[in-house]
């Protein structure tokens, strides 16, 4: 048994008072969950504490909250671990507050309909059958079904939505959960409208190119759905498979990153915007679209110059890599581009093998960590973050 202080964010909409923090002292074993702690508070001290919960085993997705400032499931976070991390990290105090990006209804309960479910509905969340519908089942590769299982594994807890930085800036962003939902159909060979789905999400100003690769959703997800990876996969299906060059310049922006790194070994930031807007080559900056966009970006560019983020010298003469380093970078690029089928970063398929190190050596490092409990490391805490960085464009 250990003693914990649960510092809960309380809010009673009927009281007319502002939200406030209330502390409760409980005794439980460290491997018990934060949810068990809160349920103990409800059972023994104050039955009016509000939290949605049901399964207690990270399956139903009810108890999404922020623990020590980060989103996760209360049932999936050990008290001991939570007390040792976060701002207090005193082995005793755990703060629990409602998820972000959604209106609060009471205490730890947020309005999922107002944000999360609205966004899910945005992506036409049902199968649009390929015709003709067969008399028996669709004959489809096992791998495809295992592939979309990663997104089927989403329990709609809202943790990714809570901590999505892009959504904080742009509340209209379709967001991580809905994007993962979209991939569930885009990756399903029985769906008739793959092109329409990705075209829609690529052209939407608040669609898949609105994601800034902050990894928060991957960190927050208790089920290893890795929403950001699904967004990247949607982009690949849109850009690489269907050649969709979106009006948001999202695809060209990604291409510009790749080309610049491939050519110079390093990112040349001054070239990035012109190429993203005008076209993915040195001539891109002379395209009228580039001029227009650059004009509107002038305040940003000015600020960047004033703060020394960009220097006139750097614009004209980018950093250069030594020859052998450049060759090494280019070798990596070639190797990745040669890979068929492309590495889809799916936790259910890629990389798992009985003997570590077996196979072609292309095992994605993410595989080693799987969908570890990021919101609440258990006895074997894993963090897929470092591995996932290769996702970044």
């Amino acid at each position: 048994m250990a003693e914990y202080t649960l510092k809960l964010r309380r809010y009673n909409p009927e009281s007319g008072e502002a939200p406030f923090w209330e502390e409760f002292q409980i005794e439980l074993e460290p491997h018990r969950s934060v949810l068990e702690g809160i349920l103990k508070v409800k059972a023994e001290i104050d039955g009016s504490v509000g939290i949605r919960c049901s399964c207690r085993a990270a399956i139903c997705g009810s108890c999404g909250v922020r623990i020590n400032g980060r989103a996760g499931l209360a049932c999936h976070t050990h008290l001991g671990h939570a007390a040792d991390s976060g701002v207090h990290a005193d082995g005793r105090t755990i703060t629990v507050e409602p998820m972000g990006n959604m209106p609060i209804l009471k205490d730890l309960i947020v309005d999922m309909d107002a944000v999360h479910w609205k966004k899910i509905q945005r992506v036409t969340p049902w199968l649009i059958n390929k015709e003709p519908v067969p008399e028996r089942e669709y004959i489809v590769p096992h791998e495809n079904m295992v592939d979309v299982t990663q997104t089927m594994a989403c329990i709609q807890c809202g943790a990714c939505v809570s901590d999505c930085l892009s959504m904080e800036v742009d509340p209209l962003f379709v967001g991580p959960a809905a994007s993962a939902r979209a991939y569930r159909f885009v990756g399903d060979p029985r769906d008739a409208e793959q092109y329409e789905r990705v075209k829609d999400l690529a052209e939407d100003r608040h669609g898949i190119y609105d994601c800034t690769h902050c990894f928060n959703c991957i960190e927050a997800c208790p089920k290893g759905v890795a929403p950001m990876s699904q967004i990247m996969r949607l982009r690949r299906v849109a850009g690489a498979d269907h050649g969709i060059v979106d009006r948001n310049n999202g695809h060209r922006h990604e291409q510009a990153f790749v080309t610049l790194v491939k050519e110079g070994g390093l990112l040349h930031e001054a070239e990035l915007l012109p190429r993203s807007y005008g076209g993915d080559s040195w001539f891109g900056k002379f395209h009228p679209a580039a001029g227009q966009e650059l004009l509107s970006s002038l305040p940003v560019i000015t600020t960047a110059l004033l703060r020394g983020k960009v220097t006139p010298k750097g614009v004209l003469a980018p950093h250069k890599l030594p020859k052998d380093a450049l060759a090494a970078v280019q070798a990596i690029t070639e190797k990745v581009e040669r890979r068929r089928p492309r590495n889809e970063l799916n936790l259910y398929i890629t990389g798992y093998d009985d003997s570590p190190g077996a196979g072609d050596g292309d095992v994605h490092p993410l595989a080693a960590d799987g969908d570890a409990m990021t919101s609440a490391p258990g006895p074997n805490p894993h963090r897929p973050t470092s591995a996932s960085e290769s996702e970044s464009a």
Binding site: H31, G47, S48, S54, K106, L127, Y348, G370, P379
Partner: protein, 563 residues
């Protein structure tokens, strides 16, 4: 005031399937649930769903396995319907988008499951229930114009007219405390089981027997209530479920001496015997001192190739790691039998109709009875979908010939007064709701578990009666209207106590051992005297009234049951 042809209470698999079927048949439909539909406990069904769809398989074989699994207490006409309609239901699910895993040829893949003579369990990794539940919810979103969803509404009372017909329900909007009468020509209960009556249980906190008690309170008889399934593989500390799919994929059970003890109890089917058989075997090993010191048995999944485990049993890899600190791909995990499912429920016919006109039930809340004394793994998802659909269709047809009923607002005021009375309860030194609930759960798990006897059951009954007397004075801390979970907890406690008493009384009544009911004082199955259902009906505030109902036979005579 909402009025619909068909009102469905509960939005798990049975409820959602009923809603879609009723809407498809042209009815106006409302589906109401105390939680958001995807939080329903169907989400926890892991292993899969049975159907004889493979070329070499037959529905007769599936039906026979089910009859035998039920220890001949299942109604064979209902079992035949379920097994015959299973293949089309699977294909329907496949067509609306369930991502069933495939075989190498791209056809639907199957895995082995307990008590089955063929591998006929269709699955999505080990999140089959979740996958189906979420896909049905996709369909509800698609058909939002024909199905009205009332999410986070708590049903307090079923309504009847002067002739005893069920004509709707009163429900409380959990978000703002508003009470509303839902008029309906027919009501389908699909509100799930009552696992919380036991502690520990694999069941979610929401499984409080609401529908069973609501139907019981308006006079609907319950049936097979003594048949409580203990799942063979649950975590010792918290009761979490380790799917039968693990054994289906090849995992073995060992006692503390390292013996694969199922060789003794079920030499042919071993770990894949019926659940009652395996649970009893484990409990015997534990009771006779061959378990581990923490009262458990070892489940060894390391025999399954690691890649296969990670692909097909992913959820229990997570559960082992996060809730038991065990990597199941590397070492055995300690488990024991734990309360999992209630075979009994509100008695219905094969169209889901209860003896109360206008009231239907489907899924775990109901007892058709397709599971009899013991449910086969992967038959419960099937039960929810087949009888959910049949109830929805039947209720929609029934609606065509019935005028829309109307409930007076006086009834609403009565219910409001009852709830206000609960909310007003002050702390007068009585027990807290949680204490009563814990004592109930521990009592049931102690005396009404795998092994039972007259003495223990009498003790349990006595305690349940006492708790029933204590419950009405338990204090309520929350005096508000928005998400007042405290007052809902008090109402749920009342439901659980009613269900618990029905279970205990039925278990006392059946003086034999059949299926999940094993009486150490009557250790044999006794077909001559007990090959019939036991029904339980409400008898005011007195001890419930017992009755019987015949088992319906078609083609399978009772035989000795070995695996």
């Amino acid at each position: 005031m909402p009025a619909h042809d068909v009102l469905i209470i509960g939005a798990g698999l049975a409820g959602q399937r009923a809603a879609l079927a009723a809407a498809d048949a042209g009815a106006s439909v409302a589906i109401l649930s105390k939680v958001h539909p995807v939080r329903s406990h169907s989400v926890a069904a892991a292993g899969g769903i049975n159907a004889a769809l493979n070329p070499g398989d037959s529905w007769e074989s599936h039906a026979y396995d089910t009859v035998k699994g039920s220890d001949y207490l299942g109604d064979q006409d209902a079992i035949e319907i379920m097994c015959r309609e299973a293949p089309d239901e699977i294909l329907h699910l496949e067509h609306i988008g369930v991502t069933f895993h495939r075989s190498d040829t791209g056809h639907l893949g199957t895995r082995a499951f307990g008590g089955a003579s063929a591998a006929r369990t269709y699955y999505v990794a080990d999140i089959t229930g979740q996958a189906i539940l979420h896909v049905l919810y996709e369909q509800l979103m698609k058909h939002h114009e024909t199905v009205d969803r009332y999410e986070e509404w708590f049903t307090t009372t079923l309504l009847q007219d002067d002739d005893g017909h069920c004509i709707g329900a009163v429900a409380r909007n959990i978000r703002d405390g508003r009470l509303e009468v839902f008029d309906a020509k027919s009501v389908i209960l699909a509100s799930g089981g009552a696992g919380q009556v036991f502690k520990p249980t694999t069941n979610a906190l929401i499984c409080t027997g609401d529908g069973i008690a609501q139907a019981y309170r308006i006079g609907a008889p319950l049936m097979d209530m003594e048949m409580i399934q203990y799942h063979p593989t649950t975590l010792a500390e918290n009761g979490f479920l380790i799917t039968e799919g693990a054994r289906g994929e090849g995992a073995h059970l060992y006692n503390a001496l390292g013996e694969r003890f199922m060789e003794k109890y079920a030499p042919n089917k071993l770990e894949l015997a019926s659940r009652d058989v395996v649970s009893r075997a484990e409990q015997t090993e534990i009771n006779e001192g061959r378990g581990f010191p923490d009262g458990t048995i070892a489940l060894d999944i390391t025999r399954v190739p690691r890649k296969r485990t990670l692909e097909a049993l992913r959820e229990i890899v997570n559960i082992g790691r996060d809730f038991a600190g065990v990597d199941i791909t590397r070492e055995p995990i300690h488990i024991r039998p734990g309360m999992h499912y209630i075979m009994g429920g509100v008695r219905t016919d094969v169209d889901g109709q209860t003896p109360i006109p206008g009231l239907y039930a489907a899924g775990e809340v109901a007892c058709v009875s397709v599971h009899g004394g013991n449910r086969l793994g992967a038959n419960s998802l099937l039960d929810t979908l087949i009888f959910g659909r049949r109830s929805g269709e039947h209720a929609a047809h029934r609606a065509r010939g019935v005028a829309m009923p109307k409930t007076s607002s006086r009834r609403l005021a009565d219910v409001a007064a009852e709830i206000d009375e609960i909310i007003r309860r002050e702390n007068t030194g009585g027990r807290r709701i949680s204490e009563i609930k814990d004592e109930l759960g521990e009592t049931m798990n102690r005396y009404v578990a795998v092994y039972r006897d007259a003495e223990g059951l009498a003790r349990a009954h006595e305690i349940v009666r006492r708790l029933k007397a204590e419950a009405p004075t338990a204090a309520i801390d929350d005096k508000g209207t928005v998400f007042n979970q405290d007052v809902l907890g008090a109402i749920e406690l009342g439901y659980m106590l009613d269900v618990a008493e029905a279970i205990v009384v039925a278990a006392q009544e059946r003086k034999e051992s059949r299926g999940a009911q094993f009486r150490t004082d009557f250790p044999e199955r006794n077909d001559a005297e007990w090959l019939h259902h036991i029904t339980i009906s409400r008898n005011g505030d007195g001890v419930p009234e017992k009755g019987t109902a015949p088992v319906r036979f078609t083609q399978w005579e009772p035989q000795e049951r070995t695996y």
